[in-house]
Amino acid sequence: MEFDLAYLMAQGPALMRGLWLTVQVSAISIVLSIVIGLMGAAVRVLKLPVLDKLVIGYVEFIRNTPLLAQLFFIFYGLPSIGLKLSLFWSGVLSLTLWAGAYQVENIRGGLETVAKGLREAAFSLGLTPWRFFRLIAAPMAIRVGLPSMLNTSISLLKNSSYLQAIGLAELTYVAIDRISMDFRTIEMFVAICVIYLALVLVLSVFANRLENRLNKPFRV
């Protein structure tokens, strides 16, 4: 079987729809996982009683169980306790919880390097703890943690392909679906690999820009 470009072109619209879902699910999950990361890291660094233990448990649980099991738990398990989410939001929830655990750790390191002295200075100027976190600590922690946050985000993007297992018609689902009908394996896998690669590149470029901006104050 030679590489059939015409076939691939004909599948363009279907692939595009899959791509769009992949982008949506990943973008929302990346943003939400960073929110979880910021909150979880703050809880850890401030050593808030009880919450602290909960965050540790959450991070350990996520990091030591397979993503696929987490995904099935959310999609098949939650409805049995009365929580029924759509395919799309099941996917978002599982990717968010999965990446959130890693973001907690990525951001925690940065947060710990925000010197105690800056906190005291902020408090002495009358900033509330929340404003200190939002205006000083979070931006500084994100700067330090950005490379590992990018890694986690790239993994999230790639792992969004797991969502085909629950039937969400994202990029990988579309490819597998077509292959099972048309047996054009090579064309489809080349296509989706190129697309994932392009998405990762876009994400990296975006992160590099952000890193440059956040690092500007520290270049003498």
């Binding site: 010197a115 002295g117 800056l118 005291e120 200075a121 902020a122 408090f123 002495s124 100027l125 009358g126 900033l127 509330t128 404003r131 205006l135 000083i136 931006p139 500084m140 700067r143 956040l214 500007k216 104050p217 520290f218 270049r219 003498v220």
Partner: protein, 255 residues
Amino acid sequence: MSQASPLISLKGIGKRFGSHAALQGIDLDVAAGSVVVLIGPSGSGKSTLIRCINGLVRPDEGSLTVAGRAVDIHDEGAWQGLRTQIGMVFQDYALFPHLTILRNMTLTPQRRRKLPRAVAEDEARKLLARIGLAHKADDYPSALSGGQQQRIAIVRALAMQPMAILFDEPTSALDPETISGVLDVMRDLARDGTTMVVVTHEMGFAREVADRVVFMADGRIVEQGPPAEFFANPRHERSRAFLSNIRSFGEANHA
């Protein structure tokens, strides 16, 4: 001496860290417009004491009155309100490194004094001009020398229009050649009648600028008085030992 009630008044302040008593029975009055300099050996509780004045350290016991109003030492809200009125300058300047000098100075005035951005920036630029650093407004802290950063930390505190400013060894981290610039700014503030409580090892500054010198040892105030008196005739054994130590250290430095 005026009989007006002091701006800041501490009575019976005590603080323990575990089993260690860092402060015991501290009574201290700071009159409005006066400069009080705290001196004493390392570990004597100077930092702990001035941190008790704005709640960075919560005293365990005693009472604090600021501008005639008692501060509830167990209420974080009360401390937060108080902190907008009492500025603090640290040994390591603690400018926010990811913000420009101007943002460093307008951040809290905009939020806590509710100033519109343009007004806050205008005030900040005037303060910068006053210390000769107007041209640094848009730079980041990393582009400035330690002495410049510390002068900015001082006017950053000033931008909140506090009724008093606390200084914890403001020149201890500086290169010798930049110390005098910082002391000049502080002298300037003192001349303008800013109420200041200063922990320092700069005895020249204490002698010249302080209205009162407070000598601490082992978490207690051992003696206090006008600098001329204190330096010429320290009454206490501990004070004498401390001063002679400093003098021989100073002479060794000049030798």
